[in-house]
């Protein structure tokens, strides 16, 4: 870690550098502790006072909490040093290159590629296959369930890819986000009316599970970078919103998937 901080703070002499490194790390660590205190408080309160039970395996709990704090600290440092610069640099480079086709292709690949292997989505797809099998929508055999789950996964990934493409187009053209979101909501309402009842809960949830911890910073930096690199766009008004599309389109597509099968 010292190396990265060195490149960032080259102008300091070594004594000052050590001091700034130590204070930065310490601040980052206390931030992480503060971020986790609510969970620890909630779990402690409910376990000890409401349920009236002891904390099982205290050593494991302490080790786990230590790892979570350390992990969050490293993640936030790496975010500023790695993921944000990548997303923004690539956005500027695409803008400089000026090829709309490549940019949209990149947007699709980023949306599709980060979603298709997302562990939370794989878990939801498996549960959904079970619902479909029990509800009699597909045969209750392992291969039928696997096919269904895989089809659902690709459907969601496709919809997220298209969502990022649409979101990038919106940034380039400067379309107001609320009109597109209203359109999406109307789509969700229409699909809800016509889709099989069993799929609705899964479809609504699939919007939320697609955006992972790595995707969010990358996509956010891409959007903000694009909006800042194009004249006439405001990064605050136009730069955000990519995640919103990625949470909306899977709902429509998954209900569509439920109707086709």
């Amino acid at each position: 870690m010292s190396h990265a901080l060195l490149t960032g703070t080259r102008r300091f002499d070594s004594g000052e550098l050590m001091k700034s490194l130590a204070t930065q790390l310490l601040k980052s660590l206390t931030d992480s502790v503060r971020d986790l205190l609510p969970i620890i408080g909630v779990i402690g309160f409910f376990q000890l006072l409401v349920l009236g039970q002891p904390i099982p395996n205290l050593l494991e709990l302490l080790w786990g909490t230590f790892l979570v704090v350390l992990g969050l600290t490293l993640f936030v440092q790496g975010l500023k040093l790695g993921l944000f610069p990548i997303g923004e640099t690539m956005a500027w480079d695409f803008a400089a290159k000026g090829s709309l086709l490549w940019l949209l292709l990149f947007a699709f690949a980023l949306g599709f590629g980060t979603t298709v292997a997302e562990p939370a989505l794989i878990a939801v797809a498996e549960e959904a296959a079970e619902v479909a099998a029990v509800g009699g929508m597909i045969e209750n055999t392992e291969s039928a369930r696997e096919d269904y789950g895989e089809g659902l996964r690709y459907t969601v990934a496709l919809s997220v890819g298209l969502a990022i493409v649409l979101g990038v187009l919106r940034i380039l053209r400067g379309w107001p986000i609320q009109y597109l979101i209203v359109g999406g909501y109307i789509g969700v309402v229409i699909m809800t009316a016509v889709a099989p009842k069993e799929i609705i809960g899964i479809a609504y949830d699939s919007g939320g599970v697609t955006t992972s911890t790595i995707t969010v910073p990358l996509v956010t930096a891409l959007g903000v970078g694009l909006a800042s690199s194009i004249e006439g766009r405001n990064p605050m008004i136009d730069g955000f919103g990519l995640i919103a599309f990625a949470s909306l389109t899977p709902m429509i597509f998954v209900m569509g998937y439920g109707m086709i099968l």
């Binding site: 969970i39 408080g41 786990g64 790695g82 939320g208 136009d238 990519l242």
Partner: protein, 266 residues
Amino acid sequence: MTEYLASLGSSFVTTIDDVLPIIGILAGFQVLVLRRRIPNFKGVLLGVFLVLLGLAFFLEGLERALFPLGKLMAEQLTAPEFLGLTGAEVNIAEHWQDYVWVYLFAFAIGFSTTIAEPSLIAVAIKAHQVSAGAIRPWGLRIAVAIGAAVGISLGTHRIVTGTPLHYYIITGYVLVLIQTWFAPRSIIALAYDSGGVTTSTVTVPLVAALGLGLSSNIPGRNPLLDGFGLIAFTCLFPMMSVMGYAQLSEWNAKRASRTEPEPPGD
């Protein structure tokens, strides 16, 4: 000790495995299409390594400590004995007050997991940078967390009463649209984004356990059908709370500028 380290190691490998497609896409486009040098390339590489390492530690710690306990608590709080369900329940919908601990737990766990959500931290940092400090990261995160907390407790209430999911969600959409009309324009996109970023690594497993516990223990609910939907609630309400937070800040600023003779420096 060695067992702990081995498990940490395998967690790191899993994380790399999950992230490999993303790295492949980024590297592919960088090398084949853009062909430009990334400034401070070594620093960026180190940053990516830190993200992977941090995420591996984070996930391993969650699996070790918070998830087992959180899921166990969700099960215990929704167990028939704790809820006082004797099996002779006539009408659950009339006894929804009995579930007050469940609602409180849903609210508290929703708030606290959202505060710890790394993707929300990322978006809050970015929003702070982009808005030149106007949006405070901590304020945004608390607004989102309150929204998520309200959403999850309302979602558990829906499971208890068995009302159709889409009634709530469509009403929520209408409210979001009405609020969009009145909210400051610069917050709208960020508010819409905050719905999706809430539900990630920390929140989803615990919320799913809560939904599963409730829907399998309350008579007349089917875990396969009614267990879903909590994530959708968690996505919806932060949009409202973030727009509300912006409206409140704007209102405060207006009031402050009215008492002072100076014109607002907009």
